[in-house]
Amino acid sequence: MRRSIVNDPDQLVPEALEGFVLSHPGRLALDAEHRFVRRAEPARDKVGLVSGGGSGHEPLHAGFVGPGMLDVAVAGAVFASPTALQVLEATKAADSGRGVVQIVKNYTGDVLNFRIAGEISGDDEVETEIVLVDDDLATDTADGGGPGRRGTAATVIVEKICGAAAEEGQDLAAVADLGRRVAASARTMSLALAAGTHPGDEEPQFSLGDDEVELGVGIHGERAARRVPFTTADGLTDLLLDPLLEELDLSRGDELLAIVNGLGGTYPLELNLVARRLHRRLADAGMSVGRSLVGSYVTSLDMHGVSLTLMPLDAELTRLWDAPVATPALSW
């Protein structure tokens, strides 16, 4: 049983947004009605970047609002898409005249509400482009039917790369193209040792046997297609790494961007073991982790698990990744 630190579960998201923005005075501002967080000082004369989705994935998305990354992040209820109207208002708030890129994780509700908000924003003469993030290798279906791969931790890369490109003055099409390039080349695998618990609930979203690992989980507490035996940190890392390496078709000398991402209930010591194995295995294969993040960036409440995201780097992506960023959750 997990009890939550919560007042009225129905008011969790607006209250949390309020607390979050209060904690970043002068840097973030809140539109309480439409539940979006924006930069306190809106950027001028650049392509706007808006993202968002269900809550419960913090620091995604509001944690990435700030110079070098998002202009606006809009929040739905826990694990539920924001409404089209919220997205519309958020999109308008992100516009400084050069159009807005909407970064959307590939879930039916999010896609629908963002696409429609994009369409309607034309009424207010805001040009929009959608970048769909669909990096989850576990939901890759060979035939391309169904809703397609889910969007998970690669969202952070898309937001960072697009953010840097927008900041340096690239135009709407170019920023969107970069985002799509990242989404097309980044893949993620995730596993869980224990599910998260909804605020207000007492039981986790699913439970596992003592020697089971849920392989291929998403970030909404969905069960995965496979349950595999529990093993060591190295073994668990290999469960994520092997399919990624097979999918990505890499060669010796390749440099990768990696995100070792905790799903909420994973402590840093654990993530560092995964990072260690990753570095060692890539080095053994003649490749290297050129850039990486290790931490809890895209969570599923307090799910105990880890995701691994890999993306091949080139000079342009590296430059954009390294560009300055100043947000609550990412800053250099």
Binding site: G76, S81, N113, I116
Partner: protein, 228 residues
Amino acid sequence: MTRSPSTDTTLPDDLGPAFVTALQGALEDAAPALGDLDRRAGDGDFGDNVRTAMKNLARELESAEPEDYRGWVTAMSRAWLGVGGTSGPLFGMFYRDLAKAAGDGEAPDLGALAEALEAGQAVIQKYGEAEVGDRTMVDALAPAVVALREAAQAGKAPAEALAAAEQAAIEAARGTAELTARRGRASYVGETAKGVMDPGACAMGLVVGALRVAVEADGGEVAADWIE
């Protein structure tokens, strides 16, 4: 007496408020029944979604103080765009096209309304990717659009034409009870939805019913007793 093609196809000046108010009442009344249908053959949130839309609508009407058809129907559109889920944005887009039937300060005529309903159907299908027969709101809307177009072409008076459209929508909505869902949350429950009408299709039946009520001289009630 058959009507000639030269029949008066203008619709009442107060079409906007009359339609929106009638629909508001009908949806508020039907919310429990609609929620029940979604619980039996969906994920159970449609009743709440309707209620949220109506709450949004009241707020929109208060803040926007619409003065014409377009303003009133736009309020309904924004009300649904503020709902989320699947039906929210789809209804929102549908009403947005319905609002476009008339310019500022005007009410549409019957032909423009029929075209707008057709455009509304198209936008729902564009974003929702549902075909007729997939057990969605489209199943009720599509035959209503056909019926309205035919009645208008046959020179029927607006009230009569909309009554025909309402009948077509209700019959089709009833028919969804025999369909298997291929879109939306109901698609996950598959065959177990058999015998249960699709709540979105039922709501669409109420929409056409409210249009009928709005053009009728005596402003009757929207029929809803067929939803169960």
